[in-house]
């Protein structure tokens, strides 16, 4: 009898141990799962976002120049930002004109016009026109700007000048690069920017219930009244979403400007982001570039935080339903 009991006890402890082992292996597996699934993403994001920000702050308090050597720690870069740099007010002013000009004319307004018009005409034609407007976004930037350079070529071979002379009888070729450079960078960025708004607004218009349009028609509303009282109120969220995100991307991007005008003539089209790039990589003032970039980083984080408003956090953070590891 006793040995049976002993055996029983042994069985219990063995069972107990087994459970404990299994529990331990569950937490172990939980850890390794976290490591396998999330590890690479966390490491890369840490290396490519967090480390550069720290390095940027560090460098901005040094005097690093073209030789990449650090001789002293100093706050003179920030003194230069706030007092010494005569060029900076002009650059910041231009950045405002460029960002809000492009935003107001193309990314929001024109995107909206395209979305409303392409959803009002028959479906296939709508897809065609939207496809045309997506073409600049899908083309590589170097190629897209090559086309612009060709179009505005100041000689009589430029596409624009050929059209002006052949169709409108203009005698003297126009030179937009020297006469209207700011307009040029707004247009070249706007042609690409408009398509983003167009896509988002189109899907928002599509999701408006059909019966609202019918009801408005029955009540005697014309096309414009429908846009004003049915479509636009439904686009409130998408419009503010596009405004925030496009402000951010226009403020930090300088690729097309660098390729098209190189910031010139003189400093006429040098926006803030391009100014940083020029200071750092052309003048070799890495520390000053890092100090300037820090302000852009702060703006970037602030605008990105503003973006939280547009997400349905409850849905995003929905708790998973399986607890097995």
């Amino acid at each position: 009898m006793i040995w049976i009991k002993e055996n029983d006890v042994a069985a219990v402890t063995e069972n107990d141990l087994d459970v404990r082992r299994r529990l331990r292996s569950a937490t172990w597996r939980q850890r390794t799962n976290l490591f396998i699934f999330l590890g690479p993403a966390i490491v890369l994001i840490f290396l490519l976002y967090v480390v550069p920000v720290i390095v940027d702050i560090f460098i901005s308090f040094t005097d690093m120049g073209r030789s990449l050597a650090i001789n002293e720690f100093t706050t003179k870069q920030y003194e230069k930002v706030f007092a010494g740099d005569k060029r900076l007010p002009q650059v910041i002013g231009l950045t405002f004109v460029y960002v809000f000009g492009t935003l107001a004319v193309f990314n929001v307004t024109f995107g909206l016009v395209l979305a409303i018009l392409t959803t009002a005409i028959p479906k296939t034609s709508g897809i065609f026109f939207r496809g045309v407007w997506l073409l600049p976004r899908m083309s590589p930037s170097v190629l897209y700007i090559f086309l612009w350079i060709w179009v505005i070529d100041p000689s009589e071979f430029g596409l624009l000048n050929q059209i002006l002379t052949n169709l409108f009888g203009v005698v003297k070729p126009v030179d937009l690069m020297t006469n209207a450079p700011v307009m040029l960078i707004i247009f070249s960025n706007g042609f690409i920017g408009a398509s983003m708004g167009m896509i988002i607004f189109t899907s928002a218009i599509r999701s408006i219930p059909e019966h609202l349009f019918h009801a408005a028609r029955v009540d005697g509303a014309g096309g414009l009244a429908i846009v004003r009282h049915v479509t636009l109120p439904a686009l409130r969220w998408p419009i503010s979403f596009i405004t925030i995100y496009q402000t951010l991307s226009l403020t930090v991007s300088f690729e097309y400007i660098l390729l098209l005008t190189k910031g010139g003539p003189f400093f006429d089209t040098t926006v803030y982001a391009l100014y940083i790039y020029g200071r750092a990589f052309e003048n070799g003032q890495y520390a000053y570039g890092a100090a300037l970039a820090l302000f852009l980083i702060v703006i970037g984080v602030a605008l990105a935080l503003l973006g939280w408003k547009f997400f349905d956090m409850k849905k995003l953070l929905q708790v998973p339903r399986i607890e097995v590891q």
Partner: protein
């Protein structure tokens, strides 16, 4: 009581018909106005692309041969217009088919007679000839080799092509693997700090890497990845990752829980479930983020331009840039041909994968 029913009907019917007719005309006029506006604003976008393709295949003297452009336009415009008109007139599939066939036949005939004789592949000389710069300089301007200083030493176009393929392809694979792992974990597992991580990813997905170009350059320099494609590839991965993770999380969120539950009850582990059961459900998402990353890597210019110096590391974007820089004033046809060569892969990829790209939504944007 003398008014008959017929007279009454006439009295009402006539103004009614007039009104209806007016409304129909107004409708047509409005539609025409909308089309007119859309054509007017879209033509400037399309025209340069069309001219680039035509010049690439037709230019002989290096300058833009306008005559052939106008001829090509004179065929293309009536063709598109005809197809469009017919698509509104034709009612049955049979009518549609014969109408389009007739229009296409006329257009092709006109093309063969008016345009085809002038087309040639001479501008694609860069595909087989590394020293095309000297050659076109000699034929166009008459200057001998070595006479003009500042001519750029171009690598073979296939080297640039392979570099671009390596950069875009490698980056795509890394992004696809890491984003699907992370997206799955964020979608399906509960762990401490999950909410915080999702929130910070949301900030990162909007946060522009371009602002970090100065410190990234310095870091690449310190760790010895400057002037190496691998360095740019890693930066691009970081660029795409937060966005791709969100897209993938959205796709994983849409997979029904029941599929996973039944796999788990059948005794599979979470890892097995992920690879064998869930991953096949999100192939559309994988295709979407892969195509998106590839097109991004294919077109990348700023980081490539800043981080790569040696011409054996040139990608297609740098190749195109320097060809434009060097040859644009000398031979328009050649630059256009390089442009066509560079544009074609991303355009084809985009057209093929369009239906997958359209499914990308960042989960949970308010309507």
């Amino acid at each position: 009581m003398e008014v008959t029913f017929g007279a009454l009907r006439d009295q009402i019917q006539k103004p009614w018909d007039r009104l209806a007719a007016r409304a129909r005309w107004m409708r047509r006029a409005k539609l025409a106005a909308m089309y007119g506006f859309l054509i007017a604003v879209s033509a400037p976008v399309l025209l340069p692309y069309f001219w680039m393709v035509t010049v690439a295949f037709s230019s002989k003297t290096g300058t833009v041969d306008t005559l052939i452009l106008w001829r090509a336009m004179a065929i293309l415009l009536p063709f598109v217009f005809g197809c469009w008109i017919w698509s509104t007139i034709g009612t049955t599939a049979r009518q549609m088919f014969f109408g389009f066939a007739a229009i296409t036949a006329v257009a092709v005939a006109a093309f063969v007679i008016l345009v085809l004789p002038d087309l040639h592949l001479g501008n694609f000389i860069f595909i087989g000839e590394r020293n095309f710069g000297d050659i076109v300089r000699e034929t166009r301007t008459g200057s001998k080799k070595g006479e003009v200083s500042g001519g750029i030493d171009f690598p073979s176009v296939w080297l640039a092509f392979a570099n671009s393929l390596y950069l875009a392809g490698g980056q795509t694979i890394i992004v696809a693997v890491i984003a699907s792992l992370a997206g799955y974990y964020l979608s399906r597992f509960e762990f401490a700090g999950r909410a915080a991580m999702l929130r910070s990813l949301l900030v990162l997905h909007a946060f522009p890497v371009l602002t970090l170009i100065v410190p990234l350059f310095l870091i690449m320099n310190f760790v010895g990845l400057l002037d190496q494609l691998l360095g740019v590839m890693l930066v691009l991965v970081g660029f795409e990752l937060p966005f791709a993770i969100f897209i993938m999380k959205g796709f994983f969120d849409a997979v029904p829980w029941e599929i996973e539950m039944s796999a788990l009850t059948d005794g599979a582990s979470r890892r097995q479930t992920f690879v064998r059961v869930v991953l096949p459900q999100v192939t559309n998402g994988l295709i979407a983020i892969s195509v998106f990353s590839f097109i991004r890597g294919w077109e990348e210019y700023i980081f490539v331009f800043t981080f790569l110096i040696d011409n054996v590391n040139w990608t297609m974007s740098l190749y195109m840039f320097f060809v434009r820089d060097d040859i644009l004033g000398i031979d328009f046809g050649l630059v256009s041909a390089v442009g066509v060569f560079y544009l074609a892969p991303s355009l084809v990829l985009y057209l093929v994968a369009q239906k997958y790209l359209a499914q990308m939504t960042i989960g949970g944007v308010k309507g």
